[in-house]
């Protein structure tokens, strides 16, 4: 019983939340339209959280993902406003994310700065750069090409599977693709094995011939790339870019990974568990909004749930 609760406590909580909203909102909550809506709402957070999992596997984390996302959106929009084509703006924005992550990785693995300090520093740097490029203003309107913002508004129609009038948004599909890629890299490849080894015991991993520095660096680069992807998704969705729009992502992403970590026996992050964490946060947000719960109360509730899930899991581990 104890074991089941420890292992599946978070999952049971997740189901309890669904059942609760279903009973409170029988008409609207468990409908295809709402579920697809949720999947679109959480897609940006999901991408950041999935790629955040990559560094958290090594016991590192990245505080700069939010400002990387903002910066990527601003860079793309800025290039659009100068008349560059969509593909160029997107490529440069992704490159900026990759290089930003690489920079984090260099600070952490070659200079040996604690990830907390290093990425706190780059958080400010990236954010400042975003402000500088955008002049502190939102870039919107005619500057944003229709093909770019159209991406977030369209999707694959689901008429074929009996859901007439419902489309699966491209943003949700993006999140699923990123989920698959991260899952593949972490769970199926030597790359993932080595990252988990670094998280298990960095010194032992190094002595067993793992190139710890290079791997840490590339993991941070991937997290930066993921953050930039999310930033572009966000900019496409709101058809605009401003230097603060990604800032909410970082804490939620870390919270989602932590929620996921409570589901594994040894407390290590797994990307599929992170998905559950993201879903918990997303469904809470969606359900509480529909119930017209005040947004401040919503924040208190979300924070309390994260803290209690992690507290519950660490207490049951201590008892072992």
């Amino acid at each position: 019983m104890g074991l089941i609760l420890r292992r599946y406590g978070t999952l049971l909580g997740f189901l309890a939340i669904i059942v609760f909203f279903w009973s409170q909102l029988p008409e609207t909550f468990l409908t295809a339209r709402n579920l697809i809506n949720i999947s679109q709402q959480i897609s940006m957070l999901a991408v950041v959280a999935f790629t955040m999992t990559i560094v958290m596997v090594m016991n590192d984390f990245d505080l700069s993902v939010g400002s990387t996302a903002s910066l990527a959106g601003v860079v793309a929009a800025f290039l659009f406003s100068l008349g560059y084509p969509v593909w160029a703006g997107i490529s440069v924005a992704l490159l900026v994310g990759l290089l930003g992550g690489l920079f984090n990785g260099i600070l952490v693995s070659f200079f040996g700065i604690l990830p907390f300090v290093a990425t706190l520093g780059t958080l400010t740097m990236f954010s400042g750069t975003a402000f500088l490029i955008s002049g502190g203003k939102t870039i919107f309107g005619r500057d944003i090409p229709g093909t770019f913002s159209g991406f977030a508004r369209s999707g694959v129609p689901l008429d074929g599977i009996g859901l007439a009038g419902v489309t699966m948004p491209f943003l949700s599909i993006m999140a699923v693709i990123v989920l698959f890629l991260v899952w593949f890299a972490l769970e199926q490849t030597t790359f993932g094995r080595r990252l988990y080894a670094i998280g298990g015991n960095m010194e032992a991993a190094k002595l067993a011939g793992i190139r710890v520095r290079t791997l840490r660096m590339s993991a941070f680069a991937l997290t930066g790339l993921g953050a930039a992807t999310a930033g572009l998704m966000y900019a496409s969705r709101v058809a605009s870019a401003n230097p603060t729009q990604g800032s909410g992502l970082m804490l939620d992403a870390i919270a989602a990974v932590f929620l996921g970590m409570t589901m594994s026996e040894e407390g290590e992050p797994r990307v599929l568990a992170t998905l559950v964490g993201v879903l918990i946060l997303g469904i809470l947000d969606n359900g509480l909004t529909q119930l017209s719960v005040d947004s401040y109360i919503r924040e208190i509730l979300v924070g309390a749930i994260v803290v209690s899930a992690v507290a519950f899991s660490s207490i049951s581990k201590q008892k072992r």
């Binding site: 199926q188 490849t189 030597t190 790359f191 094995r193 080595r194 988990y196 080894a197 298990g200 015991n201 010194e203 032992a204 991993a205 190094k206 002595l207 067993a208 011939g209 793992i210 190139r211 040894e266 290590e268």
Partner: protein
């Protein structure tokens, strides 16, 4: 009358006896050495005395009366003070504060620290040791290791409560220079003339002969002998320390060495070792011996690519020395590090994940996708080779015994085709059965042409397993000896040889 009598002390952890029957008697105002090989039970004995470990059997008499030491406070109340090898100073604060740190600080107006009084007390405590060259206001991290040790001793003098009657010093000179040691010896003489006793634990024979009145030797957790230092000599003490014959537990080499070299070192220096020169033939087992911390592990690190080679040439399998552990493993060099839990294993991960770690490249296909079947097959194969006892290959390593944990580290090493195997204290904290399995395995590997470099603080093990022993002293190679005609006594005296 004796100050302190400990008789027939025994302490077991599970089935291993750290102390079987240990006794000592300490007279007031004497400096008494406690000696023995690693694993002889010295540190457990000191822990019993300090109230950190409770003995299973035995009797403690203090000034003739039965005493119990259940916790560190009891030991403190009896007047015992402990000075450990690792200095537990608080580096950021002053000498005076480090001296006062155990008790209340002198205050002014009940709240503010009275720095003047604090410094005065510190100066007084130092003066009692005959030290006037250390300013109490100095930040302690600015002092040399030796001076820090002296401050630590002064700190134990200024403690309130029962006056100190016995100072227990565990390898106090391990990190001190010769000059610093001399100052410590002066302080010890000072303590002695003030009527206090000193229990002096050390591997260093010359020091013991110089400053101690009597010496007690332990071996395998048992009392062997107590002698006045004037009535004995180094040779006799070494005989007391090593007097056992366990040679037959080591499997003999049953094949002739090939001529081919695995490894050739010529005058190799790194930041921490100098003058390393040796040839290692295929199938040969080379031991690295010396007193504790003489540079044995550092030799391993140089061979593993963990330490940059500053001078000389090092070739392994005809190629240049590895730049880092990754290239070392690729070149068929495997490493069993000294600290199994810290450097060897991912304790929360499974046997399988720990075993395959350096070999992932060979267990993967396109895009680096891990082939789970090959992974399982390899782990099963090497687990059988090392005779690992576990419920399943998915079992996390923290659930295994020390011996089986070490076997996992060995399993990892034998997963590759090996040219050179580096073993740093491979049987430390390993039970007897697993030890024998490990020795047998090393022989099997060397029979297949793998060169082995082995460090051990267990002299019979070095002699039993190695063809030759390279002796290190203070980070410098002094000589290479053949083990054929050597006994532990002879080997230990080589460690001490100037």
């Amino acid at each position: 009358m004796t100050l302190l009598d400990l008789t027939h002390i025994a302490k077991s952890y599970g089935r291993t006896a750290a102390l079987a029957d240990a006794s000592i008697d300490i007279l007031p105002g004497e400096v008494h050495a406690l000696m023995g090989e690693n694993g002889a039970g010295k540190s457990t004995f000191i822990k019993v005395l300090a109230g950190i470990v409770k003995s299973d059997r035995g009797e403690i008499r203090f000034q003739g009366k039965l005493a119990t030491i259940d916790n560190p406070q009891d030991a403190f109340d009896l007047g015992f003070r402990f000075i450990h090898q690792e200095l537990n100073v608080v580096p950021q604060i002053s000498v005076a504060e480090n001296i006062a740190i155990g008790g209340p600080y002198p205050t002014r107006f009940g709240a503010m620290v009275n720095w003047r009084e604090l410094n005065r007390r510190a100066r007084a405590a130092l003066a009692r040791l005959g030290i006037d060259t250390i300013d109490p206001r100095t930040k302690i991290s600015r002092l040399s290791a030796g001076d820090q040790m002296l401050v630590k001793i002064a700190g134990t003098l200024s403690d309130t409560g029962n006056p100190a009657c016995l100072f227990v010093m565990d390898e106090p000179t391990a990190s001190l220079t010769g000059e610093e040691s001399e100052r410590l010896f002066k302080v010890i003489a000072e303590l002695k003339s003030a009527g206090a006793s000193v229990l002096y634990v050390s591997h260093r024979m010359d020091e013991v002969m110089q400053i101690c009145d009597r010496v007690t030797v332990f071996r395998d957790g048992r009392f062997v002998e107590t002698k006045r230092t004037n009535d004995t000599d180094k040779d006799e003490i070494i005989r007391f320390m090593t007097g056992r014959d366990v040679k037959d537990v080591y499997p003999e080499r049953t094949f002739d060495l090939e001529e081919h070299l695995v490894c050739r070192a010529q005058d190799v220096s790194t930041r921490r070792i100098r003058g390393l020169s040796f040839n290692l033939r295929k199938g040969e087992v080379l031991g690295i011996g010396g007193l504790s911390n003489a540079g044995q592990s550092e030799v391993m690190q140089a061979l593993m690519g963990l330490d940059r080679i500053l001078e000389g040439t090092l070739k392994i399998s005809g190629k240049a020395a590895p730049q880092n552990p990754a290239t070392a493993w690729e070149g068929g060099i495997a490493y069993v590090p000294r600290e199994r839990r810290r450097e060897g294993l991912m304790l929360t991960r499974s046997i399988l994940q720990n075993t395959v770690l350096p070999h992932l490249r060979h267990l993967s296909r396109l895009l680096g996708v891990v082939n789970r079947r090959s992974e399982r097959d390899m782990t099963q194969r090497v687990a059988d080779i090392v005779r690992l006892k576990a419920d399943s290959l998915k079992q996390p390593c923290y659930q295994l015994s020390g011996g089986n944990q070490q076997k996992v580290v060995f399993a990892r090493a034998v997963g590759a085709s090996l040219n050179l195997l580096l073993l740093d204290e491979p049987t430390r904290g390993v039970d007897v059965g697993a030890k024998f399995d490990i020795y047998t395995l090393v022989r099997e590997l060397s029979a297949r042409g793998c060169g082995v470099v082995l460090t051990s603080s267990d002299l019979p093990e070095l002699l039993g397993m190695c063809d030759r022993i390279l002796i290190m002293q203070d980070g410098r190679q002094t000589e290479i000896v053949e083990t054929r005609d050597l006994d532990p006594h002879g080997l230990l005296s080589r460690f001490y040889a100037a």
